[in-house]
Amino acid sequence: MNNVALKELLYKMADDQLILGHRNSEWTGMGPLLEEDIAFSSMAQDKIGQSHALYQLLHQLGEQEPDTVAFTRNANQFHNCVLVELPNGEYDFSLIRHFLYDTAEALRFDMLTRSSYKPLAELAVKIRAELRYHTLHANTWVKQLGSATEESISRLQHALEQALPYALGIFEPSPHEQELITRGIFEGEHVLQEKWIIQVELVVNQTQLSLPDQKQIKPVYGGRMGKHSEHLQPLLDEMSEVFRIDPTAEW
């Protein structure tokens, strides 16, 4: 059986988790509160671990070792969406990105628990459970800051408008979309996006924030095809520095 479609799906999910995990880890020692510092570091560890497990599935399908795949590719070989590679910016932006992204991932892994590809379905059960803590964290803070002071509301509103075009890029359709659906591997980006918008609205409607109409927004596509912003390569260089110096080092 030809696994091109399946591999592409696994790569984009693994790359998303790895890159956002790395961005989250940049909050270590920098968070606005010690609790938030710990939360972002902890989510970073989860995400990097999850990416590793997904690279392991790819390895079982004949791709290279997880470390090699994670640390020796160039930006144009990465399939993550542009959203996850953007710099952390202010806390508002990181929080909104975390909310928009993790809402999508929680739903994606929930859908994947029903995948016809058994190893992925099994892993998805586990990742889905872990992501509950991530979405709980995001929802709690968005609800709190999205209804707190005039300043916090306007800052989050600005971050939301800034992040939304990139967030829609999560759902950039794959050239193999139809094959994945037909083979029962994944129900597809379109179904995911529909579920996502409902969930995002559910949380945003409990705040003073207003969600721009997604139909009026042009999604930032390209990431899934290896077309990235200028921010990805420096991140990869930094991430792989240790590995390039000593490929046997633990990370």
Binding site: V125, E130, L136
Partner: protein
């Protein structure tokens, strides 16, 4: 010499979680299968959290014990066929956690839809439920941080997953 599953479980009961030295891997519930074929033993394990940094150590501790006991050919296979959740921790494991000062996760299947489940966790010192959740993310992936209003001290819980 053929091995029995019971015997191997006894040996593995001596292997402790590197982060919680009172809890054996058997009580933690991460040993999901034992396959014995003559002189060779394959242990199936599954991580508590996908990114658990202690997994490699657990794996090598298992191999070390089996080797010490004279198993000729031992292997550990990590997979997610039987996904770990906190209700896999045994009754004995729960008691060990409490004695260690870590609140055990609530028993039974936990449907984590709200942070509420993490509020009012019984304090492992005084058993009071007059406690608050401080942070669902603790010093390691498997712990959350709480505060007991009776003892006026923080404590950690082994997180329900």
């Amino acid at each position: 010499m053929p091995y029995t599953e019971k015997q191997i479980l006894e040996w593995l009961d001596g292997v402790k979680d590197p982060e919680i030295p009172v809890l054996s891997l058997v009580d933690l519930g991460v040993i999901t299968g034992i396959d014995i074929k003559e002189e060779s033993v394959v242990i199936e394990m599954t991580p508590t959290f996908v990114g658990c940094p202690a997994l490699d150590m657990m794996k090598s501790d298992v191999l070390t014990v089996l080797k010490e006991k004279g198993v000729k050919h031992a292997e550990v296979e990590i997979n997610f066929k039987k996904s770990w959740s906190s209700d896999k921790i045994t009754e004995k494991g729960r008691r060990a956690l409490k004695q260690f000062g870590l609140a055990p996760p609530p028993a039974g299947k936990v449907l984590l839809e709200d942070l509420d489940i993490l509020e009012h966790v019984p304090c492992p010192r005084c058993s009071s439920t007059n406690t608050e959740l401080k942070n669902p993310f603790g010093p390691t992936l498997c712990r959350s941080i709480h505060y007991c209003n009776e003892c006026r001290e923080a404590f950690e819980q082994f997180k329900p997953v």
